[in-house]
Amino acid sequence: MISMNKVSKHYGSFQVLADCTTQVQKGEVIVVCGPSGSGKSTLIKCVNGLEPFQSGEIIVNGVSVGDPKTNLSKLRSTVGMVFQNFELFPHMRIIDNLAIAQVKVLGRNPEQAREKGFKLLDRVGLRVQAEKYPGQLSGGQQQRVAIARALSMDPICMLFDEPTSALDPEMINEVLDVMTELAQEGMTMMCVTHEMGFARRVAHRVIFMDQGRIVEDDSKEAFFGNPRSERAQQFLAKILHH
């Protein structure tokens, strides 16, 4: 579904990504973790071309992301993305947040788009909020709407960029629950997150990054059981023991 081959990116002399190579199969759930500044967000933003990269190749569903001839908008409409700061459109009602891209990008008729929007809001438990504006919802609710908005495009895979990092602790679980459910339904997912509990529950594989490199890329059993690199051991020790 997603294949990366020696992807590298640098700002001037600063190397953000160095020779990142990995594959994501259909239906797989991958958790990407690592210390801040290790390039994990940049890595998943390269998957849908939000971040350009200088060398290497990323193929998503048979389409090369880095190829200048690729219609990036079209590719992105098939890849759902959820951001750290939700990024709902504050000037539109919740239901319009869910309908607008369906109508303007996929050309669905507005009635059908709203219908689908309501169904997805039902699914994340927020149907009653449909006519409100994003600013009237809590962070956790906004992030669930953002997930529903991404799903409204019927994506072939989903990218999550630290979806719970901006949330108050008591709201993290409502978002993780939605993500867990999605994973169990067989959605292909790449999640940048520090939620190791989520990783243990639903991930198939864990990628650990440090200084722009993929240091570990292993099944979750192997990663949590016996991480090979010292850096990953230190990282796990730090975030698991408190």
Partner: protein, 226 residues
């Protein structure tokens, strides 16, 4: 000591009212065209296509570095000839109003574009990213997501600029166009009551602009609490 005599004002009111309509017409047209052209300039300035961005930067810097009254004179002197030769209009067609509006619109666009550029930049980058991630093209993301938020943030500044523009329309007196100020001047000159008429015109400008700026302030406060 000057003896005030206000008696010529009541009779002149219809004429002054016509002048006010011209002032308002110039203001509204220049605001509308200025915002449209200013938005295009702002988009060019922010675009990654270098020649467009240079053109917009040059345009803005040029118009911001010359006095408005000079731009108006250029347009008063040049545009009519240009249009006459372009469209084969009869010589001497009165195009003072058209040239005044064109001059103001092009001049104000430079100021509007800077306001709009700041407005676009005030919208968090993540909004563009989110719109793009949903498959919107750059144009769709701008039109549907970024610009509506930018304009909402900018409304007070755009209105304030409109108020300044309304005051500046008095400069069209250089083309002998009877806007409100020009009309007041003419009446005062004719009746030998220039001081009274100019005081009266000043009072009217003050009341209108002060009231308008209060409305803007009110709107601003409402937006803050919303």
């Amino acid at each position: 000591m000057h003896e005030f005599d206000w008696s010529s004002i009541p009779n002149a009111l219809p004429f002054l009212w016509d002048g006010m309509l011209i002032s308002l017409e110039i203001t509204l047209s220049a605001v509308v065209f200025g915002i449209v052209w200013g938005t295009l300039l702002a988009l060019m300035r922010l675009s990654s296509i270098t020649p467009l961005s240079w053109f917009a930067a040059g345009y803005v810097n040029l118009f911001r570095a010359v006095p408005l009254v000079m731009v108006l004179l250029w347009f008063f002197l040049i545009v009519p000839h240009l249009l006459e030769s372009l469209f084969g209009l009869p010589r001497g067609t009165d195009m003072r109003l058209t040239s005044a509006i064109a001059g103001f619109a092009l001049f104000e666009a430079a100021y509007y574009s800077e306001i709009i550029r700041a407005g676009i930049q005030s919208v968090p980058k993540g909004q563009m990213a989110a719109a793009s991630a949903l498959g919107m093209t750059y144009g769709q993301a701008m039109r549907l997501v970024v610009l509506p938020q930018a304009f909402r943030n900018m409304v007070p500044l755009l209105l304030t600029q409109g108020i300044i523009l309304f005051q500046d329309t008095s400069l069209v007196y250089v083309s002998a166009l009877a806007d409100f100020f020009g009309a007041a001047y003419k009446v005062g000159d004719r009746d030998g009551r220039l001081v009274e008429l100019l005081l009266f015109a000043g009072a009217v400008y003050f009341v209108l602009c002060f009231a308008a700026s209060r409305v803007v302030r009110h709107y601003q406060n409402k937006m803050k609490t919303a």
